[in-house]
């Protein structure tokens, strides 16, 4: 069972790798703007997560993402739907 903190850990690692920032600077409240995450970056982050958890994030959900927490919540919901 994947927990919320697992998702947070995976995502932070991905962002840290892609944007060359330290994981400690990333919190669920961090906005994607603050982290310098462009739309291409966010597509690539979501791709990593999709691959890891075998889910598919719909395009309309992708547009709504504003913070790191938004991504974590979205992935959690998709995983819950999958396990039902």
């Amino acid at each position: 069972m994947v927990t919320k903190s697992d998702i947070e850990k995976t995502l932070k690692e991905s962002i840290a790798r892609q944007k060359m920032v330290s994981e400690s600077e990333i919190t669920p409240e961090s906005t994607l703007d603050e982290l310098g995450i462009t739309s291409l970056d966010s597509i690539s982050l979501v791709f990593d997560i999709e691959d890891q958890y075998g889910i598919e994030v719909p395009n309309e959900e992708l547009k709504k993402l504003r913070t790191v927490g938004d991504i974590i919540d979205g992935v959690e919901k998709l995983l819950a739907a999958q396990n039902r």
Binding site: R17, Q18, K19, M20, L40, I43, S44, F47, E50, D51
Partner: protein, 402 residues
């Protein structure tokens, strides 16, 4: 009309990671052709290649940047950084600079890895960077982003003549006053399983080495890399006190309009003559000719005939060499490596040799500077040929800097 000066050189090739390494090897007649590395597929017939030695991408690029850089873009960036640093151009110059980059293959490595995932590994999704990494114009975009180049920028594709057509475009823009400075050249990274199988199918790859113009030549050997030059109007170069490596005096282009792979001596001769006419010089002013010289049966004979047609009596006195015998056939980058060889040959008055030469092939009766570099006798002009599949020809005439 503005005169175009060459003020910066940079290259990555089977002979090393910079222009110095390349020129040193060429002078010494040392070939970069080695057993092919990186492929364990036992059905490959390709055995040799001129691959960039000891190349580790992570030494030159941040991991985040590498995700977006196909191998051909990586080579383009390294060569462009070297050329711009060599020219001593600052940030302000780069804001108005043009960039014209030739490529034969573009980002086929990226495309191929993607298709492998879809068709072979049966994955259902591919990486979102596939398009921006693999598009044919990727290298041009990456070079402008890396160096802050903000003038006209685009990619030119004409297979093995891509660099020479790109240089011609940049020269025309500087002559027309559209840009004061430009970076131009070519890049290619053809070592993928699919591309190697496709080249194999054409039956023109040599099983061992590349021996242009020799009787026992067996075909071409593929190479990889990139070469870039900084071009600028002579006025601009002199105003800022830049060191000048040479001048591009003439460009000549033609199409054979005959066959998709077989070359025509007439088409090649028309491009050479056009370059001489553009430079406003007679054929006997040329002191060194860097041949297209692929090492295939057809090219070397056809090119020799074309040289006779254009140069007449002077053909016999002309030093002609094919440096593909050392850096391999780097396709879209070939012209760039050869232009750098041509510029430095004039600058140092030393003709690089045709390496691996045994004895002249039938009908190959020119002075091919076999195996050993030779001092030039006060050569002022040189020519560099590029003849692509499909009969797209582009020839450059270079003048030694005063």
């Amino acid at each position: 009309m503005k005169t175009v000066a060459i003020t910066g050189l940079g290259c990555v090739s089977g002979l090393g990671l910079d222009a110095d390494a390349c020129w040193q090897a060429l002078r010494e007649g040392k070939s970069g052709i080695q057993p092919l590395k990186g492929f364990d597929e036992s059905d490959l017939k390709v055995a040799t290649a001129a691959q960039v030695p000891d190349y580790r991408p992570e030494k030159h690029f941040q991991p985040a940047q590498l995700g977006l850089l196909d191998r051909h873009s990586q080579f383009a960036l390294l060569a462009a950084r070297e050329a711009v640093a060599n020219a001593g151009l600052n940030e302000a110059h780069r804001k108005t600079m043009a960039a014209v980059i030739g490529t034969g293959c573009g980002g086929k490595e990226t495309d191929e890895l993607t298709y492998q995932k879809l068709y072979k590994e049966e994955k259902r999704r591919v990486h979102p960077f596939t398009i921006p990494r693999g598009m044919p114009s990727a290298a041009s975009s990456q070079v402008t982003m890396d160096l802050g180049i903000q003038g006209p920028a685009f990619t030119v594709a004409s297979a093995c003549a891509s660099t020479n057509h790109a240089i011609a475009q940049a020269v025309l823009m500087i002559r027309a006053g559209l840009a004061e400075t430009a970076i131009a050249g070519g890049t290619d990274a053809p070592f993928t399983y699919g591309l190697l199988k496709s080249w194999e199918a054409l039956r023109i790859l040599s099983p061992d080495t590349c021996r242009p113009f020799s009787r026992d030549r067996k075909g071409l050997v593929l190479g990889e890399g990139a070469g870039m030059v900084v071009l600028e109007s002579l006025d601009h170069a002199e105003r800022r006190g830049a060191a000048i490596h040479g001048l591009i005096r003439g460009i000549g282009m033609s199409a054979d309009a005959s066959h998709i792979t077989d070359p025509s001596p007439e088409g090649a001769a028309r491009a050479m003559q056009a370059a001489l006419d553009d430079a406003g010089i007679s054929a006997d002013s040329i002191g060194y000719l860097n041949a297209h010289g692929t090492g295939t049966q057809l090219n070397d004979l056809s090119e020799t005939r074309a040289i006779h047609a254009v140069f007449g009596d002077h053909a016999g006195r002309l030093a002609v060499s094919s440096t593909k015998s050392m850096h391999g056939h780097a396709l879209g980058a070939a012209g760039a490596l050869e232009l750098i060889a041509t510029v430095l040959a004039l600058k140092e008055q030393m003709a690089p040799p045709t390496a691996n030469f045994t004895e002249p092939g039938e009908g190959c009766d020119l002075d091919y500077v076999p195996n050993q570099a030779r001092p030039l006798k006060n050569a002022r002009f040189a020519m560099s040929n590029a003849f692509a599949f499909g009969g797209l020809n582009a020839v450059l005439v270079v003048e030694r800097a005063a």
